[in-house]
Structure formats: C-alpha cells, structure tokens
C-alpha cells in the first residue's frame, strides 16, 4: 500500500473528514512571528495534545502521542460507532509553551461519521424448524 499522502495544506487549523473505524497521523511544525518555519528550543517540552468533543459527552476520537516522542506527531484514532452517535466533531489541539510562558497552538478539526459499511448487512442468521410430516 502506498504511503498516506497529506490531504491538507499547511496551516494552523485544518479540517479532516474521518470515519469511526479510521485513524490519522496529525503533524505540527513550529512557525515564528513572521510565519516562517522555526524550531523548538533545545530542551523544551514537546507540544501537548488535547481533544475537545464539543458539548457532547461522547468521545469521538482518542489520542496516542507516544507514536512520536518529539511531539511533532500524534495519532488520532476514531472510536468505533462513535458511542452511538451517527456523527460528531472532535477538535484536537496541539499546544507548545515557550520559555517565557507564551503559547503557540495548532488545531485539527475531525468531522467524524460512522463507516457506512458497518451498517451493511454482512451475514444472515439461519434457523430451520424441525422437519414435520408433509
């Protein structure tokens, strides 16, 4: 299978449609005041990832930041069947704290829907009554 290609352009906020049985790797890159590529200062703590499921108490995605110890990437994993909801929005935010306490953030909005294939009939239960005399 070919490597997954980025589906979004560089920006501080992107929107991604995703199915409940899918996962996606989110990447962040530091930008300076001019919007040019920068780098995290040596020894600084990596960005922290958080997820907001909006007003809903249902969890639409979970995060696995351990896939990249540098903090430049985080796996975003859909929750099967979205806790019973047919769709939902999860906002994942990466936050980096500078030495002076100021913060830099980047967000990805995941529009979650249930994989239609999960709703398809994939098998039929079969039962046969005890045969009787004709």
């Amino acid at each position: 299978m070919a490597d997954p290609k980025p589906i979004t352009k560089l920006g501080t906020s992107v929107t991604v449609p995703m199915l409940d049985d899918q996962k996606a790797l989110m990447h962040v890159a530091p930008l300076d005041a001019e919007g040019n590529p920068s780098s995290f200062p040596t020894g600084s703590a990596p960005p922290v990832y958080t997820v907001d499921n909006g007003a809903s108490e249902i969890v639409f995605v979970t995060l696995d930041p351990t896939v990249d110890p540098t903090g430049l990437s985080c796996e975003v994993i859909g929750v099967k069947e979205l806790g019973g909801a047919s769709s939902g929005v999860a906002t994942v935010t990466a936050t980096f704290t500078n030495a002076d306490g100021t913060t830099a953030v980047g967000t990805a909005v995941f529009n979650m829907t249930v994989d239609p294939a999960e709703l398809d009939v994939t098998s039929l239960d079969v039962a046969v009554d005890t045969p009787v005399s004709q």
């Binding site: 997954p4 979004t8 899918q22 996606a24 990447h27 962040v28 994993i77 990466a94 980047g106």
Partner: protein
Amino acid sequence: MVDKDRPAPPPDNNKILQEILATLQGIATTLTSIEKLLFDVKKLAVTVDKPIKQ
C-alpha cells in the same frame, strides 16, 4: 573664572565604567526582547495524513 594654568581634574574612571556597564545591560535587554520577538514559536502549522483503516 577658569584658571588655564591649573590641570584638569582626572576623569572618574569608576563612573565611566558604570555608565558603560549600564549601557551594555540596556543593549543586552533590548537584544533579548528582539530575540523573543523573532524566535519564539508563535504558531504551530498543522497537517494531517489521509485517514487509514485502524
């Protein structure tokens, strides 16, 4: 009236050094501010790979 034959008093070296030091500290503070302005991480660019099956 100025006595032209009288030699000028020696410069106060300590005072001059203190003024130079204060000036250098001011420059250092300014440079630090500029560094923060230029090099602090202000935003995080975000990209997301195409979702794949779990």
